[in-house]
Amino acid sequence: MRRVGVIGVGHGRFGLRDDASLQELAFEVYREAVADAAIDPQEIGATWIGSVPEYHKQRSVAGVIQEYLGLDPRPTWLTEAACASGSAALHTAWTAVASGMQDVVLVMGCQKMTELETAAILGLMGRVGDVQWESVFGSTFPGYYALFARQHMDRHGTTRDHLSAVAMKNHDYGALNPKAMFRKTIDRQKVENSKLVADPLRVFDCCANADGAACLILAAEGRAREISDRVVWLDGLGVATAPMSVLRREDLCTLPSAVEAARQAYAMAGIEPSQVRVADVHDCFTIAEILAVEDLGFCDRGQGGPFIAAGETRIGGRIAVNVDGGLKAKGHPIGATGVSMAVEIVRQLRGECEDRQVSGADVGLTHNVGGIGQYCFVNVFRRE
């Protein structure tokens, strides 16, 4: 298989985007990525779009976006893997380029989550779990992660302070990211006085729904080197599934899909976790970042809370994690998130992140979870 590199990136402003339609959000980042790659868009052979369709009033959005981008008659597909839909698009696009089927492709992650009425959104939120055996009792997204948190606290001694440390860190970096939804630092009191959503998780343990888009242009190695002298290579990919139902999970202190996806990605890239300098991980809730740093092998099992609270995941620590603000402060437009993570890591490896740049970053990683772990994608990026 051919080596595949990222030659162009685009990232829109995340948050309430009632100024733009879905395809307009997509165009913002498409324009930026094409300019960044400095290519003729006629070279783009196909488009993969990561987006979760049930949030949109427009049906079959891939075709509508392709049309608005002016890329007809080239093919497009929608990939759906809940909150990991963007990474599903990237993974699928990678297979097309690596296999030789395509030379240059577009990966688009985009989502409008504020288009539906509140009642419709709350209705969707009531069906995040297994609707046959779990949603019928009123299970919610924060509710599931609360079950994870309770077990982690009980078994590993994770504390309220550890959860708060995740939220504070990610807001500190979100404040430095011009594309983030929340650009304000928060203190411990702010987190701990916020309303309980599902004990022990509070409002400030949760990420926010957002609108937004992000975009990548991939190319096969030969063409990538002709086009760009700052290619970031996608050298390790891992993807795995785990039961959607919490009734069929052996252990709630880990996402088994993340462990398996990480194992694949590290093996393919030929690296150890300790070689990763910067990572974007799926902090849909504060406890999720604690699970992520453990599942990815950045620290010992059970030590995620103290590891983060000690500053080891800040810039200057052992590994910089979510220094773009994470889902927590950047916002979580679910279809865009996986692509947004990849854009951030590419920019870190190119050294373009200014006051939140991780110095000397040469290996970066993304960890993107769908649902409560039924899907997980881990990717390793490298610059030469």
Binding site: V131, S135, V136, G138, P142, R150, L201
Partner: protein, 141 residues
């Protein structure tokens, strides 16, 4: 018949619905067992995940188990607003399988810890002549 299971319903048809709901109406908790290889499942499933057989038997289980985790939901989805706050308990069942269920009136969630022995109790109620069947978690006396 399965639309009567739970507090709200999203799944009206399932191969395991009629027998399971009839069991709850009679106050019995039923697990499925593969007639071919013996794999037991709670909640029940129509198709054996081990040997792929579609022949299933039903076995009654005691509902005894231990708390695996729990939470109290304070932001409810549509249709459950009047229940807030409600507590959900994840129970590892003694006879295999797991259930997510509401904490019953007799269970003090404030005193709950992981590993506590509990029991899953079948429940039924008639709301506006409409049958609802479900199960709740109670202290194991």
């Amino acid at each position: 018949m399965f639309e009567s299971f739970g507090l709200v319903s999203f799944t009206s048809h399932t191969k395991v619905g009629d027998v399971f709901v009839a069991g709850l109406v009679e106050g019995r908790l039923l697990a499925s067992r593969c007639a071919s290889c013996g794999e037991q499942s709670f909640p029940p499933r129509a198709d054996c995940v081990v040997c792929r057989s579609g022949d299933l038997e039903w076995v009654e289980i005691s509902g005894r188990g231990r708390v695996s985790s729990f939470t109290t939901i304070r932001a409810a989805p549509v249709g459950l607003e009047e229940w807030v706050p409600y507590s959900l308990v994840l129970v590892d069942l003694e006879e295999g399988g797991r259930a997510l269920a509401l904490a019953g009136a007799g269970l003090d969630v404030g005193e709950l810890s992981l590993g506590t022995s509990v029991r899953l109790n079948p429940c039924r109620s008639e709301v506006n002549d409409e049958l609802r069947v479900y199960y709740e978690v109670e202290a194991d006396s």
